[in-house]
Amino acid sequence: MDDDAVFKALADRSRRLLLDRLYRNNGQSLGDLCEGLQMSRQAVAKHLGVLEEANLITVQWAGREKLHFINPVPINQISERWIGKFELPRMRVLSDLKDALEKKPRK
Protein backbone atom coordinates (compact mmCIF):
# COMPACT_ATOMS: atom_id res chain seq x y z
CA MET A 1 0.00 0.00 0.00
CA ASP A 2 1.02 3.61 -0.47
CA ASP A 3 2.92 4.90 2.59
CA ASP A 4 2.36 8.51 1.44
CA ALA A 5 -1.40 8.05 1.67
CA VAL A 6 -1.08 6.58 5.17
CA PHE A 7 1.14 9.41 6.48
CA LYS A 8 -1.09 12.04 4.86
CA ALA A 9 -4.19 10.47 6.39
CA LEU A 10 -2.56 10.38 9.83
CA ALA A 11 -1.33 13.99 9.58
CA ASP A 12 -4.70 15.37 10.66
CA ARG A 13 -6.04 15.66 14.19
CA SER A 14 -9.66 14.96 13.24
CA ARG A 15 -8.77 11.82 11.37
CA ARG A 16 -6.64 10.56 14.27
CA LEU A 17 -9.59 11.26 16.55
CA LEU A 18 -11.86 9.18 14.30
CA LEU A 19 -9.34 6.31 14.42
CA ASP A 20 -9.22 6.59 18.23
CA ARG A 21 -13.00 6.37 18.36
CA LEU A 22 -12.99 3.29 16.13
CA TYR A 23 -10.24 1.73 18.23
CA ARG A 24 -12.43 2.11 21.31
CA ASN A 25 -15.57 0.94 19.57
CA ASN A 26 -15.05 -0.80 16.26
CA GLY A 27 -17.64 -1.08 13.50
CA GLN A 28 -19.50 2.27 13.78
CA SER A 29 -21.80 3.96 11.28
CA LEU A 30 -21.27 7.53 10.06
CA GLY A 31 -24.04 8.64 12.44
CA ASP A 32 -22.33 6.98 15.45
CA LEU A 33 -19.01 8.59 14.53
CA CYS A 34 -20.54 12.07 14.23
CA GLU A 35 -22.00 11.95 17.73
CA GLY A 36 -20.48 14.54 20.05
CA LEU A 37 -18.11 15.92 17.40
CA GLN A 38 -17.84 19.60 16.44
CA MET A 39 -17.77 18.63 12.78
CA SER A 40 -20.40 18.51 10.09
CA ARG A 41 -21.55 15.14 8.83
CA GLN A 42 -20.04 16.02 5.45
CA ALA A 43 -16.66 16.78 7.02
CA VAL A 44 -16.66 13.47 8.91
CA ALA A 45 -17.66 11.61 5.72
CA LYS A 46 -14.79 13.30 3.86
CA HIS A 47 -12.27 12.36 6.55
CA LEU A 48 -13.53 8.77 6.49
CA GLY A 49 -13.00 8.76 2.72
CA VAL A 50 -9.35 9.78 3.16
CA LEU A 51 -8.87 7.09 5.83
CA GLU A 52 -10.46 4.47 3.59
CA GLU A 53 -8.28 5.54 0.66
CA ALA A 54 -5.21 4.96 2.86
CA ASN A 55 -6.58 1.54 3.90
CA LEU A 56 -6.65 2.68 7.54
CA ILE A 57 -10.32 1.89 7.76
CA THR A 58 -12.46 -0.57 5.91
CA VAL A 59 -16.22 -0.53 5.45
CA GLN A 60 -18.67 -3.39 5.58
CA TRP A 61 -22.39 -3.36 5.02
CA ALA A 62 -24.64 -4.70 7.75
CA GLY A 63 -28.03 -4.67 6.07
CA ARG A 64 -28.56 -1.04 5.01
CA GLU A 65 -25.99 0.29 7.43
CA LYS A 66 -22.43 1.05 6.37
CA LEU A 67 -20.09 0.22 9.26
CA HIS A 68 -16.50 1.47 9.58
CA PHE A 69 -13.73 -0.71 10.99
CA ILE A 70 -10.21 0.38 11.88
CA ASN A 71 -7.59 -1.53 9.88
CA PRO A 72 -4.34 -1.70 11.86
CA VAL A 73 -2.31 -3.46 9.14
CA PRO A 74 -0.79 -0.32 7.48
CA ILE A 75 0.11 1.13 10.90
CA ASN A 76 1.86 -2.13 11.76
CA GLN A 77 3.77 -1.93 8.46
CA ILE A 78 4.87 1.62 9.21
CA SER A 79 5.91 0.56 12.69
CA GLU A 80 8.06 -2.24 11.31
CA ARG A 81 9.48 -0.08 8.56
CA TRP A 82 10.13 3.09 10.58
CA ILE A 83 10.46 1.95 14.18
CA GLY A 84 11.38 -1.73 14.40
CA LYS A 85 14.26 -1.39 11.97
CA PHE A 86 15.84 1.49 13.90
CA GLU A 87 15.05 0.22 17.37
CA LEU A 88 16.75 -3.15 16.95
CA PRO A 89 20.30 -1.84 16.31
CA ARG A 90 19.89 0.67 19.16
CA MET A 91 18.90 -2.07 21.54
CA ARG A 92 21.89 -4.08 20.41
CA VAL A 93 24.15 -1.09 21.11
CA LEU A 94 22.71 -0.84 24.61
CA SER A 95 23.14 -4.50 25.33
CA ASP A 96 26.74 -4.38 24.04
CA LEU A 97 27.34 -1.36 26.27
CA LYS A 98 25.87 -3.19 29.26
CA ASP A 99 28.11 -6.19 28.56
CA ALA A 100 31.18 -3.95 28.22
CA LEU A 101 30.44 -2.00 31.42
CA GLU A 102 29.67 -5.09 33.45
CA LYS A 103 32.85 -6.77 32.36
CA LYS A 104 35.10 -3.87 33.39
CA PRO A 105 35.19 -4.15 37.21
CA ARG A 106 36.79 -7.54 37.24
CA LYS A 107 40.40 -7.00 36.34
Binding site: N55, P72, V73, I75, R81
Partner: protein, 147 residues
Protein backbone atom coordinates in the same frame (compact mmCIF):
# COMPACT_ATOMS: atom_id res chain seq x y z
CA UNK B 1 -23.43 -6.74 20.29
CA UNK B 2 -20.69 -8.84 18.76
CA UNK B 3 -16.98 -8.05 18.84
CA UNK B 4 -15.32 -7.93 15.48
CA UNK B 5 -12.27 -6.80 13.61
CA UNK B 6 -11.68 -6.42 9.89
CA UNK B 7 -8.14 -6.50 8.51
CA UNK B 8 -7.29 -5.55 4.95
CA UNK B 9 -4.01 -5.78 3.14
CA UNK B 10 -3.08 -5.42 -0.51
CA UNK B 11 -0.43 -7.88 -1.64
CA UNK B 12 1.29 -7.90 -5.02
CA UNK B 13 0.67 -11.55 -5.85
CA UNK B 14 -1.90 -13.81 -7.52
CA UNK B 15 -4.96 -15.29 -5.79
CA UNK B 16 -3.53 -18.81 -6.25
CA UNK B 17 -0.22 -17.94 -4.62
CA UNK B 18 -2.01 -16.17 -1.78
CA UNK B 19 -4.26 -19.18 -1.22
CA UNK B 20 -1.21 -21.46 -1.13
CA UNK B 21 0.47 -19.13 1.35
CA UNK B 22 -2.60 -19.21 3.60
CA UNK B 23 -2.84 -22.98 3.67
CA UNK B 24 0.59 -24.59 3.22
CA UNK B 25 2.99 -25.27 6.04
CA UNK B 26 6.12 -24.23 4.12
CA UNK B 27 4.62 -20.72 3.97
CA UNK B 28 2.73 -20.38 7.26
CA UNK B 29 5.79 -21.43 9.27
CA UNK B 30 7.63 -18.43 7.82
CA UNK B 31 5.10 -15.67 8.52
CA UNK B 32 2.74 -17.06 11.23
CA UNK B 33 5.27 -17.17 14.08
CA UNK B 34 6.33 -20.72 13.15
CA UNK B 35 2.81 -22.15 13.25
CA UNK B 36 1.20 -24.47 10.73
CA UNK B 37 -2.37 -25.41 9.92
CA UNK B 38 -3.74 -28.93 9.67
CA UNK B 39 -6.77 -29.58 7.46
CA UNK B 40 -7.70 -31.19 4.17
CA UNK B 41 -9.24 -27.85 3.12
CA UNK B 42 -12.72 -29.09 2.28
CA UNK B 43 -15.97 -27.60 3.57
CA UNK B 44 -17.01 -29.44 6.73
CA UNK B 45 -13.48 -30.61 7.53
CA UNK B 46 -11.68 -30.15 10.81
CA UNK B 47 -9.07 -27.43 11.02
CA UNK B 48 -6.40 -26.62 13.59
CA UNK B 49 -3.37 -24.46 14.23
CA UNK B 50 -0.26 -26.08 15.68
CA UNK B 51 2.24 -23.75 17.31
CA UNK B 52 5.98 -23.86 16.77
CA UNK B 53 6.42 -25.85 20.04
CA UNK B 54 3.84 -28.46 18.95
CA UNK B 55 0.95 -27.27 21.15
CA UNK B 56 -2.49 -26.90 19.60
CA UNK B 57 -3.33 -23.18 19.51
CA UNK B 58 -6.81 -23.24 17.99
CA UNK B 59 -9.25 -25.75 16.54
CA UNK B 60 -12.42 -25.57 14.51
CA UNK B 61 -14.14 -26.44 11.29
CA UNK B 62 -14.11 -25.12 7.75
CA UNK B 63 -17.59 -23.78 7.01
CA UNK B 64 -16.87 -22.64 3.46
CA UNK B 65 -13.93 -23.37 1.17
CA UNK B 66 -13.82 -21.79 -2.27
CA UNK B 67 -10.21 -21.68 -3.50
CA UNK B 68 -8.71 -19.20 -4.28
CA UNK B 69 -11.43 -16.75 -3.21
CA UNK B 70 -13.04 -17.43 0.13
CA UNK B 71 -12.71 -19.48 3.27
CA UNK B 72 -14.85 -19.35 6.41
CA UNK B 73 -13.52 -20.91 9.61
CA UNK B 74 -15.35 -21.71 12.83
CA UNK B 75 -12.52 -21.01 15.20
CA UNK B 76 -11.92 -21.56 18.90
CA UNK B 77 -8.83 -20.97 21.01
CA UNK B 78 -7.56 -24.07 22.82
CA UNK B 79 -4.61 -23.16 24.98
CA UNK B 80 -5.89 -20.23 27.03
CA UNK B 81 -8.86 -21.28 29.22
CA UNK B 82 -10.18 -17.71 29.40
CA UNK B 83 -10.35 -17.46 25.60
CA UNK B 84 -11.55 -21.02 25.07
CA UNK B 85 -14.49 -20.29 27.40
CA UNK B 86 -15.76 -17.66 24.95
CA UNK B 87 -16.52 -20.43 22.47
CA UNK B 88 -16.42 -20.28 18.68
CA UNK B 89 -15.56 -17.25 16.63
CA UNK B 90 -16.04 -16.87 12.89
CA UNK B 91 -13.16 -15.92 10.64
CA UNK B 92 -13.76 -15.07 6.99
CA UNK B 93 -10.89 -14.85 4.49
CA UNK B 94 -11.74 -13.07 1.23
CA UNK B 95 -9.32 -12.76 -1.67
CA UNK B 96 -10.13 -10.32 -4.49
CA UNK B 97 -7.82 -9.77 -7.44
CA UNK B 98 -7.19 -6.04 -8.02
CA UNK B 99 -4.96 -5.27 -10.97
CA UNK B 100 -1.52 -6.69 -10.22
CA UNK B 101 -2.35 -7.23 -6.56
CA UNK B 102 -4.83 -9.05 -4.37
CA UNK B 103 -6.95 -7.55 -1.67
CA UNK B 104 -7.00 -9.86 1.33
CA UNK B 105 -9.76 -9.16 3.85
CA UNK B 106 -9.91 -11.05 7.12
CA UNK B 107 -13.03 -10.50 9.23
CA UNK B 108 -12.85 -12.10 12.63
CA UNK B 109 -15.87 -11.87 14.93
CA UNK B 110 -17.50 -13.49 17.92
CA UNK B 111 -21.01 -13.12 19.33
CA UNK B 112 -19.85 -11.61 22.57
CA UNK B 113 -19.40 -8.08 23.93
CA UNK B 114 -15.86 -6.95 24.73
CA UNK B 115 -14.44 -10.31 23.73
CA UNK B 116 -10.99 -11.17 25.13
CA UNK B 117 -10.54 -13.52 22.21
CA UNK B 118 -11.01 -10.76 19.62
CA UNK B 119 -8.72 -8.52 21.66
CA UNK B 120 -6.06 -11.24 21.62
CA UNK B 121 -6.25 -11.92 17.88
CA UNK B 122 -6.36 -8.20 17.08
CA UNK B 123 -2.79 -8.03 18.35
CA UNK B 124 -1.66 -10.97 16.23
CA UNK B 125 -3.31 -10.47 12.85
CA UNK B 126 -1.61 -7.18 11.87
CA UNK B 127 1.82 -8.71 12.44
CA UNK B 128 0.93 -11.95 10.67
CA UNK B 129 -0.45 -10.01 7.69
CA UNK B 130 2.55 -7.67 7.48
CA UNK B 131 4.83 -10.70 7.51
CA UNK B 132 2.70 -12.43 4.85
CA UNK B 133 2.83 -9.35 2.63
CA UNK B 134 6.62 -9.04 2.99
CA UNK B 135 7.11 -12.75 2.37
CA UNK B 136 5.06 -12.79 -0.85
CA UNK B 137 6.42 -9.50 -2.16
CA UNK B 138 10.08 -9.74 -1.16
CA UNK B 139 10.65 -13.36 -0.15
CA UNK B 140 11.52 -12.43 3.45
CA UNK B 141 9.70 -11.48 6.61
CA UNK B 142 10.48 -8.49 8.83
CA UNK B 143 9.81 -10.07 12.21
CA UNK B 144 10.31 -13.81 11.89
CA UNK B 145 10.05 -14.54 15.59
CA UNK B 146 7.30 -14.96 18.10
CA UNK B 147 4.80 -12.21 19.04
Amino acid sequence: MASSFVYVTFIRTTPDKLWTALTERAFTEKYWFGAHLVSDWKAGSAWKIIMKDGRVADTGELLEVDPPRRMVVKWRNEFMPELKAEGYSRCVFDIEPMGEACKLTISHSIEKDHSKFVEAVSGGWPRILSNLKSLLETGAVTLPDSP
